[in-house]
């Protein structure tokens, strides 16, 4: 038993570390020392709690109080008021931006209320660097159960019955994939965990590895037992140093406990894992490109079939599952297929983790049952659009996905519905756009990404995306031509039809989908040479409204190219009216926020 009276949990995800949780931890240590509380209060840095917008987050147990945006200077007050006197520090509780209400418990907060945590269940609860914490909450129980009570075939049948589908993109049945590898005869097989999370704005896999690495290790071992593999590889982004480090610690601890290595639990089952660092190539999230990268080659995709389950790493049968998919496995074994089927929607059992970001109030990591509507995610959990702006669209599937416009906000989030709406599930990035976001510019942004990340193997993807980018670039600069939209559509369809891998097959999606839903914006750029959202620099001009100008000269002083001049017209208290010389203006926008009377507008 733990002799401590209270526990202070500090979120140690990358988001909170970036916002300064390490200073908070140090401050707690110092303050507890000062007040002689080190024996009574236990401070623990845990994995991602998900509410990144409000980080650094501090939770106090057993009261279960949830403090947000805690800084080092707030710590003394928490220690004195809360830990010593038992009084909650109300000013550090989460305050609803709409209602102004403060919340004592995280379970009451709208952000957490509609969530259902399965893959993230232990994130923020266990110490990721202590295997005993994981074992204390039934960790490695599912592996033991598989080894002692089930045949490999029974494990596969259970996963199939649960309906679990791959969380990394296309949503293929995990159990069926395992069955393919199981059916291939061979003396050597591999289990690969795809932790090369390259989709910009998606960070669930990293959070799981940072917060609960053992669930992934356990799941890989279960998969290895099921298909008859003895070696595992985690292919992880080098850009995730914290996740790499936590996973390294976890693998070492699992080895020490005999949960990896030879004769696990004293059985004849042996399995070990090593890590391979990725080197920053989006295409390596594609499974065959990933295999080439593990083999030390350029990450170019292979032709399928044969599928990796048959011919994979070093030509051996290989199962590649993504992190979130694996994180579901131990619980499915412990709680059963029916339990998993009871969550979510028909054909889409379980939950999905989304990284909610962009123009939304509550940025963070959310796990919701499949089949929830976009409306509920954005308004109930996400707290609506930032700054009271108008919602325009939500982007899913990253550079491979598309836009979900306002009219589809009530569709249920399932693999099939997203495809029907012209997007895809992808790895779970969900980026909310508002009225200030120009859809043509966003399409260009995504294409810039794919142009750079195209591996170059297939001509349609290598050259085609570049041609599409050139057209979009022209449109955003006011040089669009009448038949550009037709050209974009035809190029897009050709690239989709003729590329080898998922990257090329989906690269045109952001463009095709914005053309489908926001044709009027494209036309405004092309025909009227106007950007309705005011985001395309070449299509807007900064203008001073004469009625509002008070002649204070601030704008003229901040202008880097001295293009703001006075004219012979009196404004304000006997001052001169200012005007912007459009021929010289570089549209840097420096003047706009400085004007005290908001006289400068975008046209």
């Amino acid at each position: 038993m733990n002799p401590t009276r209270l526990q202070v949990l500090i979120c140690g995800g990358t988001g909170c570390i970036s916002s300064g949780c390490l200073d908070v931890e140090t401050a707690f240590m110092e303050s507890l020392e000062k007040h002689g509380l080190t024996d009574e209060v236990f401070v623990l840095k845990v994995g991602c709690l998900g509410f990144c917008e409000q980080g650094p987050i501090v939770k106090v147990y057993p009261d279960n109080t949830f403090y947000v945006r805690v800084e080092g200077k707030d710590v003394e007050e928490i220690v004195v008021e809360h830990l010593l006197k038992g009084k909650t520090v109300e000013r550090l509780l989460f305050k609803d931006p709409e209602t102004g209400e403060r919340y004592f418990y995280y379970k009451d907060m709208p952000f957490y209320k509609s969530q259902h945590r399965v893959a993230l269940k232990l994130c923020g609860i266990v110490d990721p660097e202590q295997i005993s914490d994981y074992i204390g909450v039934d960790g490695y129980q599912a592996l033991a159960q598989s080894l002692f009570d089930m045949t490999p075939k029974e494990v596969i049948d259970l996963i199939k019955a649960s309906g679990l589908r791959g969380r990394g993109g296309a949503g293929f049945s995990t159990g069926s994939k395992w069955e393919f590898a199981y059916n291939v005869k061979g003396d050597k097989k591999y289990v690969v965990c795809n932790a090369d999370e390259g989709d910009p704005g998606a960070f669930m896999d990293r959070s799981i590895l940072e917060g609960d690495p053992h669930s992934v290790i356990e799941a890989m071992a279960i998969c290895a037992y099921a298909i008859g593999a003895d070696e595992g590889v985690v292919y992880i982004r080098a850009e995730y140093p914290l996740a790499v480090n936590r996973l390294r610690v976890a693998i070492e601890q699992a080895r020490e406990y005999g949960l990896l290595g030879k004769n696990i639990f004293g059985t004849d089952f042996s399995f070990d894992i090593h890590m391979d660092l990725g080197a920053g190539a989006f295409v390596c999230g594609e499974e065959t490109a990933l295999l080439n990268s593990v083999e030390g080659l350029r990450g170019e995709p292979r032709i399928k079939p044969p599928f990796p389950a048959v011919v994979g790493l070093w030509q051996k049968p290989t199962i590649i599952n993504n992190v979130e998919t694996l994180a579901n496995i131990p619980q499915i074994l412990l709680k059963g297929a029916d339990w998993f089927q009871s969550i979510g929607a028909p054909g889409n059992s379980g939950t999905k983790v989304f990284a909610l970001a962009g123009k939304i109030n509550n940025v963070g990591l959310v796990e919701v049952p499949m089949g929830i509507t976009f409306h509920d995610i954005i308004y109930k959990i996400g707290g609506g659009i930032r700054g009271g702006k108008k919602f325009k669209a939500v982007q899913t599937g990253g550079p491979s996905g598309g836009m979900i416009p306002v009219k589809d906000i009530n569709i249920e989030v399932t693999f099939e519905n997203l495809l029907k709406a012209g997007s895809m599930m992808g790895s779970g990035g969900m980026i909310v756009m508002d009225e200030d976001d120009c859809m043509v510019n966003i399409a260009k942004f995504y294409l810039d990404f794919t142009v750079e990340e195209s591996c170059g193997k297939c001509t349609p993807c290598r050259i085609g995306t570049t041609r599409m980018y050139e057209i979009l670039d022209r449109i955003t600069k006011g040089q669009g031509k009448e038949d550009d939209i037709k050209e974009l559509k035809s190029l897009g369809e050709t690239i989709k039809d003729t590329s080898l891998c998922g990257l090329g097959k989906s690269a045109p999606n952001p463009i095709l989908s914005t053309i489908d839903w926001f044709l009027d914006e494209y036309e405004a750029h092309i025909k009227d040479k106007k950007c309705p959202a005011g985001a395309c620099k070449d299509l807007v001009s900064y203008v001073i409204v004469p009625e509002k100008c008070i002649g204070c000269t601030i704008c003229a002083r901040v202008c880097p190219v001295n293009c703001i001049h006075t004219v012979d017209q009196t404004v304000g208290k006997n001052k001169k009216l200012h005007v912007i010389d459009q021929a010289e203006c570089v549209k840097c926008g420096a003047c706009l926020p400085k004007c005290p009377t908001k006289a400068i507008i975008l046209e």
């Binding site: 990358t14 988001g15 570390i17 970036s18 916002s19 509410f51 990144c52 917008e53 409000q54 980080g55 999370e197 390259g198 989709d199 910009p200 704005g201 998606a202 960070f203 990293r206 080098a238 850009e239 995730y240 391979d276 660092l277 990725g278 080197a279 920053g280 190539a281 989006f282 990268s293 593990v294 083999e295 030390g296 080659l297 350029r298 990450g299 070093w314 990284a355 970001a357 962009g358 123009k359 940025v363 963070g364 982007q395 990253g398 990035g429 980026i431 756009m433 976001d437 966003i442 942004f445 995504y446 750079e452 591996c455 880097p560 926008g589 420096a590 926020p593």
Partner: protein
């Protein structure tokens, strides 16, 4: 190019790592990670050395180095400014922040200033989306940065190191 004494130590460190590997099969990427950690970048000489040690053609090493964005053939500046260009940062104005750094430091993204003081990189998502737009300078994270904060950030990191 002649090797200096400090170069010799660095090469020795790299060789030690390569010799400790159980197999050279599939070892190229881990070796390049190590080499970049030691040399901070991967110039032609280092690539040739790796090729020689692993007994593979230099062209193969070059092919891999240029394929992956994590590997760089240019030396980075004393102050490494990295601007996250993930979508959440982009929609909150990271492109303007990047442009501001480029104009303030008078170098383009992906390059290093001639005096070796500054370099700017546009990063893929760092996953700190709650702090968007995010800028990282030599490991220090600056969150919720707008273009008019850029001058302040530069002053801050210059002061930090001098202090």
């Amino acid at each position: 190019m002649a090797q200096t004494n400090s170069d010799t130590t660095l090469y020795a460190k790299l060789d030690e790592f390569i010799d400790s590997l159980q197999t050279k099969q599939g070892a190229l990427i881990p070796v390049l990670h190590k080499a970049q950690e030691i040399f901070s970048y991967l110039p032609k000489e280092v690539q040739n050395h790796v090729a020689h040690k692993l007994e593979i053609p230099s062209s193969k090493v070059y092919g891999v180095v240029t394929f992956y964005s994590y590997f760089t053939m240019t030396k980075k500046g004393k102050y490494r400014v990295s601007v996250c260009m993930g979508t959440p940062c982009f929609v909150r104005g990271a492109d303007k922040v990047l442009a501001k750094f480029e104009s303030e430091l008078k170098i383009k993204a992906g390059t290093t200033s001639e005096d070796g003081m500054y370099s700017i990189d546009a990063l893929r998502c760092v996953g700190a989306c709650g702090l968007a737009p995010v800028v990282i300078v030599n490991g220090k994270v600056y969150g919720r940065i707008q273009d008019n904060d850029v001058e302040g950030v530069i002053k801050d990191f210059l002061a930090e190191v001098e202090a």
